[in-house]
Symmetry: C2
Subunit: 433 residues, 2 copies
Amino acid sequence: MNEQSIGVGLMGLGIVGGQVARVLVDKAGDLAQQVGCPLVLRKVQVLAPDLTRPQAKEMDSRLFTTDDDEFFADPEVDIVVEAIGGENPAFQYLSRALSSGKHVVTSNKEVIAKHMGELLALAQQYDVGLHYEAAVGGGIPLIMPFQRDLVANEIKGIYAIINGTTNYILTRMAKEGIGFSSALSRAQELGYAEANPENDIEGIDATYKIAILASLAFRTPVRPDDVYSEGISQLNSRDFQYARELGFVIKLLAIAKEGNGSIEVRVHPVFIPEDSFLAKVDGVYNAVQVDGDLVDRVLFFGKGAGALPTSSAVIADTVSAAQDIALGVGNRTKWKLETSKTIKPMSEIETKYYLRMNVTDRPGVLSQIAKVLGDRNIGILSVIQKETESNIQTAELVIMTHPAREEAMQLALGELRQLNVVMEINNFIRVEV
Amino acid sequence: MNEQSIGVGLMGLGIVGGQVARVLVDKAGDLAQQVGCPLVLRKVQVLAPDLTRPQAKEMDSRLFTTDDDEFFADPEVDIVVEAIGGENPAFQYLSRALSSGKHVVTSNKEVIAKHMGELLALAQQYDVGLHYEAAVGGGIPLIMPFQRDLVANEIKGIYAIINGTTNYILTRMAKEGIGFSSALSRAQELGYAEANPENDIEGIDATYKIAILASLAFRTPVRPDDVYSEGISQLNSRDFQYARELGFVIKLLAIAKEGNGSIEVRVHPVFIPEDSFLAKVDGVYNAVQVDGDLVDRVLFFGKGAGALPTSSAVIADTVSAAQDIALGVGNRTKWKLETSKTIKPMSEIETKYYLRMNVTDRPGVLSQIAKVLGDRNIGILSVIQKETESNIQTAELVIMTHPAREEAMQLALGELRQLNVVMEINNFIRVEV
């Protein structure tokens, strides 16, 4: 540490990195007041120093380096801010920074979701801070609330709308009655979805984020592979129509719960009651509801992505790291991720279900379907028959069930598909209340 | 500091204090893991040691003292947790604790709102921490997000439903069409309002809380006396009916805004659009919306009162103070409250207005009213005439205005009252969009 200032080394000068560099310069006076001394951008590591990019044009070209060794060897870099994204080489860079005794700030959800345990252990070993507020929910405070404000709570559950792209698409489908692909195209036109949208629409992005939140909340390593995940591409405008008729809204929720020493973590479309708070979170907004034994329920809401909100979180972490450096504090985290809790297999979870299927329109059909469900101990809460294609004598049935085990439901679905009277299971969606 | 543990001294054993004591015992293992060593309740200061109270019954009677000198002299008390409430003697106690080099945690909004500057200065002088997360919004993280997560933002505005009692009353009035006093009685029956409800319904409680948030957000001393405040007792079921017809909801909002180097801070009933997020916050819940230049908009929601949520915040602060003690860190706050910004007088604020008045029901009345408003530069957005008492030939007029200055509106109201055709100005409510 330079006695007169604290130095920041930035890795990556994309949309987030460029914005972070801009804030460090534009708000230098205010940030220095927070830290107690200037916070100075000392070095920018880039793959190639493309000085024609708008972010780069504003900056002193002597800050740039393409040489990793030079970057990490710089004694004036006290804090490494990683804004590259992706698993590698980010994981190598973060490991190297921590092992070099540098405090680390990252906005990279993938690397944290996949390597939280190893990075946390390195930070403790080398007594430096590891900060990743920007990895989940952009500018919405989430990581620090879990690490600090909610620390006295036993967390019972997390229910999160944590991917803006899918929430935008679902909102359009719900409000306009349009299909999935039209809504996706619209999101792409507006820049809310990428040209290759798989990461968002298949729930992968949400999987990283809920893995991080669950790991923190339950202090147990929850890896992306532990998270059951389904995307939104199978949803049909009919599902939205029936949801509305039944008093529900369809959202892609990331859910993490703990009970009886075991954890369930999953990302999939759900029916939630239309009067619940999460049902009212529309468009690109994110919201994370946390249920704890003391706080009862708290909810955090805001823009979960974008350069400006993400830079808010990155700079907050950087200031916090700088305050620690100024105070001579290394790593503040005393707890370790424990491995005593088990992750519940998806087959063991229990929810209510919505089923939509095409059946032969004649007497006795419902009793056959009810028997299959009943034999698997799945109670029917309501059935609505929708006439769909009278010329070919089929009807659409919408069934809402009582709580049932996923395994029983999957077996029942297999058996229903074998019934002659069932043409097709069009969709089944879990119901959270 | 005892080498083997960190000691807590608790002042006050009411509902919050009793719950804090309980959590310190019940969650001792988990809290020790967070801190790195045990966090032990060493002393409880009470006015009289009523050992028959349920909180006291569970506890070792040797912890109790009624002697302030004994309490503050105890070298094993590293952190003083104040849960007495009120301005005095809490202010003396907190000053004494800080001056004795003890870290302080308080849930007392009144003392923080009235003495933040002095207490912050003492904490800096004696290099100890001053924590008051529980003073605003119970278990909802607010103080730390302002101090830490939002630190890179220029805060533009805070819009807060921050008093559960009044929000409960307003929700009942809106949903059931009942009057203020019926709704208040119901709130009292359920324990949501006190026997003497003045502090809540007149907006005093909200005034303390917004003064604290505004001071933090704008880093300027905002005292309760700087906050313009109106309560909810003047609201009538007709106002709720007209609000609904016009697409609005009535909430008691605490508002703080900064612009052009001046700050406006006020607590009063407002019309807000029915599709806004705050409009959907019902019952005893609180919600605080924060607009910042980087985050755009974030919102924090939860239960703003109650022993359990409040204890969540008190314990989080206590753990944080204990972590600092274990790390040898005193006061982390480098910034000081500045006095360069001015508080805008209420007469200078600008909003839209809703006016409800009884007028003579005959031609030409509206032109007289419109002239008074127009002469004060107040534009009319809409007028609805409601027949109310045809037998005495009066009508009720509901006027929505364009944005106007408060001073102009107050003068216009005085002039309207002088008109022969105006029987009564029944209500006027500001509109926030």
